[in-house]
Subunit: 577 residues, 2 copies
Amino acid sequence: MATVKTEIRSGVYYDSAKLMQLQRTLAGLPGILDAGVVMGTDSNKELLAHIGLDSAEVMASKPDELVIVVKSDDAKAATEALSKVDELLAARKGNQDQDYLPRSLESAAEMLPNASWVIISVAGRYAGGVTREALRLGKHVHLFSDNVSVEEEIELKKQARELGLLVMGPDCGTAMIGGMGLAFANKIRLGPIGIVAAAGTGLQQVACRIHQLGSGITSGIGTGGKDLSEKVGAITFLMALDVLARDPDTKVIVLTSKPPSPKVAEEVLKAARKAGKPVVVNFIARAVTTLHEGNLFFATGLDDAARLAVELANHPPKITSEADLELEKFKPEQKYLRGLFSGGTLAYEAQHILAGYLPKVWANSPINKEFKMTNALVSQEHSIIDLGEDEFTVGRLHPMMDNELRIRRLYEEAKDPEVAVIMLDVVIGYGSHPDPASEIAPAIKNCLEEAKKAGRHLELVCVVTGTDEDPQDFNSQIQQLKEAGAWVDTSNEVVVRRIGRILRGLAERGSVEAAMIGKPVDLNTLKKPMEAINVGLESFSENLKDQGAPHVQVDWKPPAGGNERLMGILERMKQKS
Amino acid sequence: MATVKTEIRSGVYYDSAKLMQLQRTLAGLPGILDAGVVMGTDSNKELLAHIGLDSAEVMASKPDELVIVVKSDDAKAATEALSKVDELLAARKGNQDQDYLPRSLESAAEMLPNASWVIISVAGRYAGGVTREALRLGKHVHLFSDNVSVEEEIELKKQARELGLLVMGPDCGTAMIGGMGLAFANKIRLGPIGIVAAAGTGLQQVACRIHQLGSGITSGIGTGGKDLSEKVGAITFLMALDVLARDPDTKVIVLTSKPPSPKVAEEVLKAARKAGKPVVVNFIARAVTTLHEGNLFFATGLDDAARLAVELANHPPKITSEADLELEKFKPEQKYLRGLFSGGTLAYEAQHILAGYLPKVWANSPINKEFKMTNALVSQEHSIIDLGEDEFTVGRLHPMMDNELRIRRLYEEAKDPEVAVIMLDVVIGYGSHPDPASEIAPAIKNCLEEAKKAGRHLELVCVVTGTDEDPQDFNSQIQQLKEAGAWVDTSNEVVVRRIGRILRGLAERGSVEAAMIGKPVDLNTLKKPMEAINVGLESFSENLKDQGAPHVQVDWKPPAGGNERLMGILERMKQKS
């Protein structure tokens, strides 16, 4: 029967590398079957219990207490192992390359005045304090630590934004700045692609695939996995996107994220559309409705994002401008779409596509039941009406055969001063009206003239579905509609995307360009040779050494011996000074 | 002040084309401002009120009553117009090409014994009866009528399936069979692409774009927009897919649908994977997680579906078989995945991809909160555990630095007799363990040996993320893992899709291939020259005439003068005979 011996220590701090070493050494001592060295959190205690390393003392330990537990068939061996703990903890790693380890971030900064970066990997409960200190010293922070609350994350990031500094994290595994890897990072060739990632191994996977495809990166900026949550609102992500957009060496930007808040994802895409260069987007679990729109290219996965980015870097695409939309022609109150469809599928596809441009489109036959029109006869805001729906067709011909109802509705919508765009589908072929444009085109002409008289510019767009072998004259249908003043295409998607761009443009027209909150990141700090201060896991200093980057390791201990009350007082004193 | 005069008629039946003609003629009579001719449904009455054509009599009318209403400044003109209604209704169109119109479907079938198709566009409440009669006569039905209940739709489709007959509809706008258009249909070149569509104008849009791109179709089979609802369960869609899969002239199949039930969509994809030819899928509003998997090609829209289909028809792809998975090696009780991840993003992407293969994957850090593991320490069914999550890392090194916890878990999972596949990610680079494979590979080897001793085949798959310039030897990592018996790739997606195929294969292995319900559709009926019987809108007969297809128009009137009780009795008598 095995014995489990436990020792609990409070008021001590060792980094997790030290704890792992201790655990491994204990487990390797003669007569010891297994050993555990962890902080006494609930999940750690559960883990110990799960592997048979629990005792009454273990279960009574607290989250800020260090639990040391050994298991042996021999009680004496267990006691002996525990007696060696102090000696083992005191041992210092031999391969330390710094003669002198500063005890504070401040002295480290004096030793390495050109360092723009501080890497922090101390235990989560101390990480906020160290980050604040780094920001006070004007440094970007790579915050590797996890177990930092989202409230503290927001506070740190807002403070950093005011200063034009990046807080990459908490729980940010990876960053690669100008070819230099911080924390978990691969050696990636320098090249034309910049990456912003709320996804640590996502960033590594994309960067590695880019390298494997023969290309390379300028920088890969991590943000921590929660940056695109509704609460955090992409603070670091937007700052990183902004600085890469300004970087002339970055020809293509890749954005990737763990599942983001849909709302925040849209905010990020709004910013990405203004980047002035191709942006590849891979937000995990966000539905892709198109592979390409303007300067945005949507990837279906991490692999695909890397492939696309390399392809775009090698073959820069032409990016269309929004100038062709002539938004200035519309009056300020004009903002809504009215889609009058005869084809149900075309109406569904329109809703699906417009969801990428507009927050809310009402419909009598909605994809999303929340957006069901109150009354199909009365449009509200953006409305898509399928006039082929059952409610309109009892004892009445389908709108593809009989245009009357649609034309009546067209006149009605055209009179609404808030309407900017009206869309119609014209589906020809057997069964359809023998010459729909002969009825619809004159109505369009009248509506456009009426609107003009009222001082409004109305946009009338039509999709014509048919072939050159249909009984109606396909080209004449298109011609008649164009001559009446409509914008015409044969692809529903092309037409609806044009409408989406117009309406999004009109919606954004009102909002004066939100001034960039805070201070932009100084591009130069990404460009100059990496020098960094490391607080926490010593192996991160070793990485910098291996990469030839000047660095200083801080011999960090929790302030006030880890006494939380005293730490708070010290913190407040520093902030006042 | 304008007068509105109303006439209500009950116990009469005219098709909607006739009603439209009457309305137009009335509206064009001298002194008449506007006219309405509709059945007295609530939505029609609302429409009339909306355009100022309402009266107390209109509002009191019932759904089975015909409402005739005229508006005039001159009461006498209004009365005169109404007095002409009988005369106008009696007038027969001049361009009728049949000397004799049979009164019943039965006599029509005798006149045109080779007709395999019946097109039905009578009012919804009579459509079920006519369809049943057509099925009794052994004909496929194109059911254009709308306002047919979903219950009736299911009954008709089940009956048809027993007979190996298609019921395309209700509310099916379009079908194009062997180059011949039924109801709303475009003239599309014959070619190598077959289409199944729960989407009328979707079918037209895809077929037209295929034609515009220079290719063509074998057949386009409509199913009605509700076929892929949970209730109907894709009855017609699956029959149509099956017959096109058997058609040697159809080289590529396109599937498109209005927003389908997610469950039914998966059922259809399951069948599509067995089609033995490339299948392009565009289900509106279903998220695309990959563009290509096996023989399935996912399109982002109608346009894209057409483009893809033409491309695949012109350049037939190689289709991979599932034989490489060697599913026979697994024991019957082996069915689950255990994913032990160090990278959070890789774990998220795995969940996202597997959602396309498996109904439910549990995770400690789930995309879908419903699938949150009860206890991260105890796997349940398919489980994906991110060991880098906060719960595992308080005072403990990240699993990319310290393999201990993951290896303990690996041994645990490998012992579970229900486990078929275990996945690990190995992420190298700065910061990571200096040689993770040196610890992980021996554990994998032991686990595989233990499983073998227990008579099980265990599949161990690894994704290795890194580059050839990383401090660890990238190729040696891969080599060590392979030598231990793992299946290794550098793309998370490639690895996870392989797992998806294995687990889906294992899940389907148990279920004996569900025998095709009912009778398969006779391919020959799609291949022989089109002959059809038309019941309802005469213009559909005219279409057939224009296309040179033998056809018979039925001079249909509701049985028993539209008396519903009598109709029921007649129907039952026929079914008994």
